[in-house]
């Protein structure tokens, strides 16, 4: 295999792996947070507005983890800096 082929193959594999691993943990965490929020809303329906707002902010925080993985995967796929080293 040529050098470019190796780099491209490893990049594709790594991009898929990045988003796979990076998706697992935040989705588990978000599911957990959502369950708790639903529990809390079922117990105190009056506080639903405040709980929902806090939930959204928290989910966005958790989700930024997955977004980092996504950005790195996109960089590997579409703007790979290592390919420039070869040419």
């Amino acid at each position: 295999m040529s050098d470019t082929a190796i780099v491209v193959a490893v990049s594709i594999f790594t991009a898929g792996f990045t988003i796979a691993i990076g998706g697992i943990a935040p989705s588990l965490g978000e599911g957990k947070a959502l369950t708790k929020a639903l529990d809390a809303i079922a117990r105190q329906p009056d506080e639903a507005d405040r709980i929902t707002r806090t939930l959204f902010v928290g989910l966005a925080m958790v989700e930024s983890c997955a977004i980092y993985a996504l950005v790195i995967a996109l960089i590997i796929l579409f703007a790979n800096p290592l390919l420039k080293l070869l040419s």
Binding site: R53, A60, S64, I67, Y68, V71, L74
Partner: protein
């Protein structure tokens, strides 16, 4: 249809500076929002017309959300937060028009917004909490946490920019991939989902800005001003 269309592209050069299509769309949004606001507020009346009514409803919505977050009057922060919220809602809604992508899918746009947020946190902190109280927020609960507070200040700005950018760009990329697989009608539900994500991200961006500003105020309480009102 190529997936490269999902990414921002350089449209033309202005005095040697490359202008991307996201900048053009941003200018368009600015023109539309300014024109609508100008038309709506040209003749303010007690019995508002349809445009003034819609503008007032939007502002009161933002103000109501802000009021629950801060003990101070939300009027101080309304210009910044309201502008951010309205601009982000507009820029995520504009992507449903075919051929136009959301300006927030360019990391330069979101970084610019995050830098504005970064400086306004310091501005509002110094203005309302005073230098002493504001600087003390960096050494609470102990001075050992000073480096972490400084790092946190920087990383949350980065996170603000990358979160908005990643969410918008992923929506566009998914739409482009679906468009390659199935040309007609299939991408529509994904577009609607992307619109929902965009609106949630606009909400989250504005709320986080407000939360950061309130954290920078370091628990300042409202004081009576000369007219006896709370500021």
């Amino acid at each position: 249809m190529d997936i490269d269309h999902a990414f921002p592209r350089v449209v033309f050069q202005l005095l040697g500076i490359p202008i991307r299509d996201t900048v053009l769309v941003t200018w368009g949004i600015m023109v539309v929002l300014t024109t609508v606001s100008w038309l709506g507020t040209r003749r303010l009346r007690d019995r508002p017309g349809p445009i003034q009514n819609a503008l007032e409803a939007a502002l009161e919505l933002v103000e109501g959300v802000m009021r629950e977050l801060t003990p101070l009057s939300p009027r101080h922060f309304l210009p910044l937060i309201g502008t951010l919220a309205i601009f982000l809602v507009a820029s995520s809604s504009v992507s449903v028009i075919p051929g136009i992508g959301a300006p927030t899918r360019d990391i330069n746009t979101t970084t610019a917004l995050a830098v504005v947020v970064f400086f306004s946190v310091h501005y509002f902190g110094l203005r309302f909490a005073g230098p002493k109280r504001y600087l003390r927020s960096y050494i609470t609960p102990t001075w050992l946490l000073l480096p972490f507070n400084v790092i946190g200040e920087l990383t949350r700005t980065l996170a603000l920019a990358v979160r908005l950018f990643g969410n918008s760009l992923s929506g566009e990329v998914i739409a482009a991939i679906l468009l390659m697989l199935a040309g007609f009608l299939i991408p529509v539900p994904m577009q609607i989902f992307g619109l929902l994500i965009g609106l949630i991200q606009a909400y989250v961006f504005s709320i986080l800005t407000m939360v950061y500003i309130v954290a920078g105020l370091n628990g300042s309480q409202p004081v009576q001003d000369a007219k006896g009102g709370l500021t």
